[in-house]
């Protein structure tokens, strides 16, 4: 290293070094600014998404107002649009998905967290997580050719015989139905319920289990009366997250629900969901008001999923906090 010979030279070098350091610190600010700009882009995109949906749907809101949500006719030819059949279909299939999926999912999560050895549990959890990666159009493809015939040939006649006195299980089924939509959704939400519930169950402190076992409880009593209640908020959170998925799910439901815009009480009858009608009619819609009505449906779906998602995150966060605090 060559040292400057004069005092003045040394000073110059020092101030140059300081200037250089400052420039580098400016570099810090530049890096901060660049990453901030990209992070802000995410906010801009989300805001734009909300704005575009809201304004593109304005003609429908002006013409129908709140009646849009309660109207039962969907007639693109007469330009009369009511969203209730789709809201009904979306809610019924999602509810069905939860009724079938939650017991299965929570059961599997309890098995993986409480009984299975850790290595086996991790392996099985990975296989189940792979289920979440399967594209929804593949679920739809399989459902059309396996689930729908199976429901038509075996399940609906059986259900009709056993519980035919309930209006939900009456009538002849062609296979494509609310029941088919709900069943495929149940399978699709399973991995979300299982992997998150397993995580929150594993996060329950060990001493909770040990205390219960030491008091003489069996392993099941420990799991059901101690561990599950401790993780309750997290499990409910995973269910909400699954619900948000089910509400917004498009392709698989579109392929098996039957696409009939009427409110049918029987689960064996075809129905229609919000996402399905958008998928089917959007590219064929010719009139501006038809497109705007479909976008308004999208806006309704957007709002519902935001609320459900927010609730889910809040619940999962609560359990994590509780587990960490204990």
């Amino acid at each position: 290293m060559d040292s400057p010979s004069t005092v003045a030279g040394r000073m110059g070098a020092r101030s140059r070094a300081r200037a250089f350091r400052q420039r580098l610190q400016h570099g810090d600010q530049i890096a901060h600014l660049i990453t901030l700009i990209f992070a802000a882009t995410i906010i801009v995109i989300t805001a734009l998404l909300f704005y575009e949906l809201y304004t593109s749907a304005a003609p429908t809101r002006e013409k129908f107002g709140w009646r849009f949500l309660t109207g039962t006719t969907w007639d693109p030819v007469a330009l009369d649009f009511g969203a209730l059949p789709f809201i009904y279909g979306t809610l019924v299939t999602s509810a069905l998905a939860l009724i079938i999926g939650v017991p299965l999912g929570v059961g599997a999560a309890i098995f993986l967290a409480e009984l299975a050895p850790l290595r086996l549990s991790a392996g099985l959890a990975f296989i189940i997580e792979l289920l979440a990666a399967v594209p929804s159009v593949i679920y739809g493809l399989l459902a059309i050719f396996t689930l729908v015939p199976f429901l038509r040939e075996y399940v609906t006649p059986l259900l009709g015989e056993i519980a035919g006195f309930i209006p939900l299980f009456q009538g002849v089924s062609y296979g494509v139905s609310l029941l088919a939509g709900g069943s495929i959704l149940a399978i699709m939400i399973l991995p979300f319920i299982i992997s998150i519930s397993r995580e929150v169950l594993l996060a329950v402190p060990r001493d909770q289990r040990e205390a219960s076992l030491a008091l003489g409880a069996t392993r099941w009593e420990t799991a059901w009366n101690v561990v599950v209640p401790y993780a309750k908020a997290g499990i409910i959170g995973s269910i909400f997250l699954a619900l948000a998925r089910a509400l917004g799910e498009t392709m698989a439901v579109t392929m098996v629900i039957g696409n009939d815009p009427r409110i049918n009480l029987s689960l064996f009858a075809p129905g229609y969901s919000i996402a399905a009608v958008i998928a089917n009619e959007f590219s064929e819609a010719t009139s501006g008001i038809h497109i705007s009505a479909l976008i308004e449906l999208g806006f309704v779906l957007f709002c519902i999923t935001i609320v459900v998602n927010a609730a889910a995150r809040l619940l999962i966060l609560t359990t994590r906090r509780k587990a960490l605090g204990a």
């Binding site: 990453t35 998404l49 575009e52 399967v134 159009v137 679920y139 392993r219 976008i295």
Partner: protein
């Protein structure tokens, strides 16, 4: 008479067996999907599928080379849009963000992640298709790119946070500025994880159909450039599976097998890369 003790033991056994059955059902679904697709798609699949265009119904031969190329082009566009925003957004959250701004960005990202894919499609339709006046590869790529962003942000942030603070402090102690320590020490340390996260995000959007229906639309022919409607694997599966012809169903199975293999292979590879990464960090 059954004692209380026996009853409790039996309950214990029965309930855990039931939970085991639940697990078995979930795992069986994956193997059923894989097996059925292999069986149906395996004997439908042949080399023509990768090289030829679709032929009219009734003619034999033909393939879906245009759909494969279309999916590749859509993914390329999605990567160009999704990776810079997702990656730098993630870097911001992990390294630069203040408390309030980070909270807002993180919250918005979660919100965007929860938006149904069909709604993302409407968004791309409103901002790209309407101004351009027609469907295009470009519009489809933007829709998929937007879907990639939240997944990439969260995985990038997570892997950057996993980098030990001692590395940052070491770099700073040696006189590196913050951006230099981030760019030359922290990001390289987290790079395998970040890359895997990006690959998983790509695999996820590769199978999306809903956002493509009214953005990329579909196309029975090649789609030159970026400005025309294009075929893609998921869209083709939807169209062919819901169509009335047996030929089409066969093609849908074959395309489904190709798409699923792609997605699952990426996921499994990611798993192994990450496991090795964790191993080296510990060692």
């Amino acid at each position: 008479m059954i004692t209380r003790r026996t009853r409790r033991k039996v309950t214990n056994f029965v309930m855990f067996t039931l939970t085991g059955v639940c697990t078995l059902v979930a795992v069986a679904v994956l193997f059923f999907i894989l097996g059925y697709l292999l069986w149906q798609g395996g004997h439908a699949l042949n080399w023509n599928f990768f090289t030829k265009l679709p032929v009219p119904v009734g003619e034999t031969g033909g393939g879906f080379a245009n759909a494969i190329l279309g999916t590749a082009k859509l993914l390329l566009l999605a990567a160009v849009i999704g990776i810079p925003i997702g990656f730098l957004g993630g870097v911001y959250l992990a390294e630069f963000g203040g408390t309030t701004t980070s909270f807002i960005v993180r919250y918005t990202t979660d919100l965007l992640n929860g938006v149904p894919s069909i709604v993302i499609g409407i968004f791309a339709y409103a901002v790209v298709v309407v101004p351009m006046g027609h469907y295009s590869t470009f519009a489809g790529g933007i829709a998929l790119g937007v879907m990639m962003i939240p997944v990439t942000v969260r995985s990038t942030e997570e892997f950057l946070r996993a980098v030990p603070n001692t590395l940052r402090e070491g770099a700073l102690a040696l006189g590196a500025t913050k951006w230099k320590s981030v760019a030359t020490v922290v990001v390289p340390a987290a790079l395998p994880g970040i890359t895997t996260g990006i690959l998983l995000a790509l695999a996820r959007v590769a199978g999306e159909t809903a956002p493509l229906i009214f953005t990329a639309f579909g196309n029975a022919f090649w789609s030159p450039g970026w400005n025309q409607p294009t075929e893609s694997l998921p869209y083709m599966i939807w169209k062919y599976a819901t169509g009335p012809y047996e030929d089409w169903h066969q093609q849908a199975w074959a395309a489904g097998l190709v798409l699923l293999s792609l997605v699952l292979a990426t996921n499994i590879a990611a798993r192994f890369i990450l496991r090795r990464q964790v191993g080296t960090n510990r060692g």
